[in-house]
Symmetry: C2
Subunit: 335 residues, 2 copies
């Protein structure tokens, strides 16, 4: 990744803080929007540094929700590309089927610019004629009840703003295979992590943080049959998504269960991220909304696998629609 | 991998020689069957060490033909499992879609034993009642004319030996999509290698061997559209193979274009390996045959993706059938 940035003429300034092995163990980074709150994780430092204006762009990686969630909590654009759009070569592996390189920037055109430069693909969405209003499928997911009222309102607000800007908005139910796929994520991640981190676990388990240690202890009980079944569930869910989401439509869904939790004891939950990481779809956190306390609320645009350009373009379109939205102009709050 | 061996109670003795970045640049290792010949590559030292009786088992990796070819040249069993059956974590990446960890052993039950121990899967084929005679599809591949008369004879001989031992043997033609897939292999491998080896190429190109340098110079010209097309071709060929090869059948095909070439200036050609690496299928080199000069001739058993147990079991069955074959008992030569 560092070499691909350099090849594209980029300047690599340094490393930011991540959680332990890019998992859930908080590492002390604070949220620049409110220092009493977590910035999310695992790419905690990347999201915080971009939100604080220290950097225009930062890299991160997502295995559960490690790019989209911190982007949402810090109020910046986050982009988790399709699985393997950007190579993970040289990155410490946690789960080879899930680890995905992602990007943080102030706005959606920024992350699109960086993704285009690093991948050599036509992904830029700046300086182009505005994308035609997309078809937006509002997806509450099987976990809608786990979302705070503020984030539920933010998603509904974004849907209305999209509609006012000319999008066709429809509701989409996810069939039961997707709830099954979310359970498969834990299996796939755990089975692979206990192997990818075999040296660390077998020789230095006592030096791991309690969250990661418990996660790997649990992972050690997963057998090959259970893993193979989880991979079959994944393939079924991928096929189901192709049938469900036509080309030219994006899904709109929460980026996280709410605003950044208070305190630094947790990086929050990847509830609304795991499914898309497992399915390998491009996801964009669209910033612009906030709760009554001024904490950012992220909404997520998800497209079909391989439709990264369309995901970015629809997300940039939604970002503009939110900026035009009257509700934002006065209190800039939907919570 | 090393940790998975240790977890299984294995003893790791050391490292063997590989070619430069596991590509085609010869590294000076000799073939223990005849020291004037190459052992093949890239896993040159692993194949040679097992053939020389220095080690009962050795690891290798295959991106083109780096396990099956040296196993064939050195007259040992080689197993390239289904893509990702064994994790590549910690291995230097050449091509993330192709790099596959493989195994060398004196006989097929040996590699099956090691694969079972490392993967925790039911893959052992020793000490079990003999597998029922499999259905064997003799596949000459689009490159049959590139195979030496000796290897053509070896494959035909193996087919007859299988038939005499009760297998149903049929001919199978590969439709044109498979020739297209072989061309796609070069694209996928090159596009990924020029990124995976970005640091080495951008800063130390002059220190690379001429074969690898030329390979990467060529790879630098591959654009994203060409790569995406090659990946689509790969997916089409994978689906075509599922239609072509019923569950319960294996393909029989050469492991290499002939016996190990004379001299150490080349590790030989992965002509009969690239397709299966790209498709991710399990492949086993079955040893036992030799040419008139006593150089080993390897025949390859290939099964559907994920049918590793069946591939090993059919290969062990064929290994026994070859041992029973009368042609081998007297001159032990088919060339």
């Amino acid at each position: 990744m560092v070499m691909l940035i350099r090849r594209a003429g980029g300047l690599v300034l340094g490393k930011t803080v991540t959680t332990e092995f890019a998992s859930l163990e908080p590492a002390g980074t604070r949220n620049p929007r409110n220092r009493a709150h977590t910035p999310g994780g695992s790419s905690s430092g990347s999201a915080a540094a971009v939100a604080a204006g220290m950097l225009p762009l930062a890299l991160g990686s997502q295995t559960g929700g490690s790019v989209i969630r911190p982007a949402a909590f810090c109020g910046v654009a986050g982009f988790k590309p399709s699985y393997r759009l950007l190579p993970t070569v040289g990155m410490k592996c946690f789960s080879w089927s899930l680890d995905t390189v992602g990007l943080f920037g102030a706005s959606v055109p920024d992350v699109a610019f960086a993704a285009a430069a690093m991948s050599g693909r036509d992904l830029r969405v700046d300086g182009r004629p505005a994308h035609a209003a997309p078809v937006v499928a509002l997806v509450r997911t099987p976990f809608w009840q786990d979302a705070s009222a503020a984030i539920q309102n933010a998603v509904e607000h974004a849907a209305r703003a999209a509609e006012r800007s000319g999008a066709r908005v429809k509701d989409m139910e996810l069939p039961p295979i997707f709830a099954e796929a979310v359970r498969a994520h834990r299996i796939v991640q755990g089975y692979e992590a206990i192997r990818a981190l075999a040296y660390e676990y077998d020789f230095h388990r006592d030096r791991m943080g309690p969250v990661l240690r418990a996660q790997l202890d649990d992972a050690a009980t997963i057998d090959a049959d259970t893993y193979d079944n989880a991979r079959r569930t994944t393939r079924r869910a991928r096929r189901a998504l192709i049938d469900l989401l036509p080309d030219g439509e994006v899904m709109l869904t929460p980026s996280a269960p709410g605003a950044a939790p208070r305190g630094l004891g947790s990086t929050g939950e990847p509830t609304f991220n795991r499914l898309w990481t497992l399915l390998g779809t491009p996801c964009v956190n669209v910033p612009g909304l906030a709760d009554a306390d001024g904490l950012p609320l992220g909404v997520q645009v998800v497209a079909r696998f391989g439709r990264d350009r369309f995901a970015l373009s629809a997300a940039a379109w939604l970002e503009s629609a939110l900026a035009r939205s009257e509700m934002l102009l006065t209190p800039r709050s939907v919570g």
